[in-house]
Amino acid sequence: MECVVQGIIETQHVEALEILLQGLCGVQRERLRVHELCLKSGPSLGVVPSEVRLLCDLDQPDPTWTVKHVGGAMRGPGADQISVMVRTLIESKVSKNALRMFYALGYKLDHELLKVGFAFHFQRTANISVSVSSVNKMPKVHAIDEAVPVTPGMQIVDVTAPATPANYSEVAAAVSSFCEFLAPLVHLSKPFISTGVVPTAAAAAASLMSDGGGTAL
């Protein structure tokens, strides 16, 4: 299970966001370079159609693979009252021939993306991860080196935190509370409910940049 919010930010303001995050999180940023392959079951396979994601972390000297299954989001009045999305999520590290195995099982490549950027992982009541990345598509299958941005000039901000049925309320509150600090630069909301860029982001970014990033927050 995880709590998740997303937002978009203009690339020109990413540096300011990084300065803000560095001050808030108090940890070193990590590089992010992930090849994400979305596989879907073939036409007759399965009780219902299914989807699974394979993530290859290209930032490691020896790329590492993870299989990810994202389930449905929590629904109902309770979910509507929470400003973050709460959804089931199961991950498993796997050895490098996971793609070959899923192809053999009858899964097909639906689409693939390359996410390039940076991330912060820190503890604030919950284990929170913030990533800022450009999402890139490939003109040919698996052609990572030829990837181009899907939305030039814009990057995606993801804030996620693992949760359990017992603690998702506290985790959601921790994520919401953290997101408020980012509000001058990026508006974060449930995925698929975009609120666009923050109109005053330019001013906020200018302030952060002129500050040299040295002010403690």
Partner: protein, 219 residues
């Protein structure tokens, strides 16, 4: 990780496998001064595709196995032997497979028995039983040589150990023998340095041979 061979009991033509043979094998280990260390257990699942259209069955693998090994409690291994695929994953992959609802475990087997220390060797002797039955379908024996991880470098000492083992067991006049199957791990993308993935592949091959033996007896 130490090199491990996985042997399986091959009954003589006309005879079957039983708990008695497992008892004899266990006693034989103890007779050559094996020190009992405790129990061990592994679980194997045969997965079948769930199809909305049965006519396409041939498109999907018939030998998709999953196995959890006694040595690796947090890991799970998938093997599609016909395509020379072996995958190591976290145990949570089983939950992912359940959620996908594309494949289901149709047959589950336990490998369980006792573990022994014998000098630089670790031995595990166990029966193969369906999860909801005590019906012994086979007997396996793991032979692990602790000092060496290279399969080539350990070959000679493993063969010498097996000669000693076969000689000790032959005094019991049992209707069959333990067999080791050699295979080309390179076809599975595995190297000379031994890993749990090698063990998973060995178990898949053992199961294939055991099934072939049962089918031959029935035929």
């Amino acid at each position: 990780m130490p090199v491990k061979w996985v042997l399986h009991w091959q009954p003589n033509q006309g005879s079957t496998v039983s708990s008695q043979i497992l008892n004899e094998a266990t006693q034989c280990v103890e007779s050559i001064n094996g020190v009992k260390e405790g129990r061990w257990k592994a679980t194997l699942n045969y997965y079948k595709p769930l199809l909305r259209d049965q006519t396409n069955q041939a498109e999907f693998p018939r030998d998709f196995l999953g196995i959890s090994l006694a040595d690796q409690p947090n890991k799970y291994y998938f093997i599609i032997r016909s395509q020379r695929i072996v995958l190591e994953a976290d145990s949570s992959i089983q939950l992912i497979m359940e959620r996908l609802q594309s494949y289901k475990s149709k047959v589950a087997l336990y490998f369980e028995g006792f573990q022994y220390q014998l000098g630089d060797f670790r031995l595990r002797v166990g029966k193969v039983v369906p999860t909801h039955s005590e019906n012994v379908r086979g007997i396996v024996m793991e032979v692990e040589y602790l000092p060496i991880s290279s399969m080539e470098k350990s070959r000679k000492v493993m063969e010498e150990f097996l000669e000693i083992w076969h000689e000790a067991l032959s005094k019991r006049s049992l209707p069959g023998k333990f067999v080791n199957i050699d295979l080309n791990f390179g076809e599975f993308g595995l190297g000379d340095n031994y890993t749990p993935q090698h063990t998973a592949v060995r178990y898949a091959l053992v199961m294939a041979h055991m099934i072939a033996t049962v089918q031959a007896v029935r035929g």
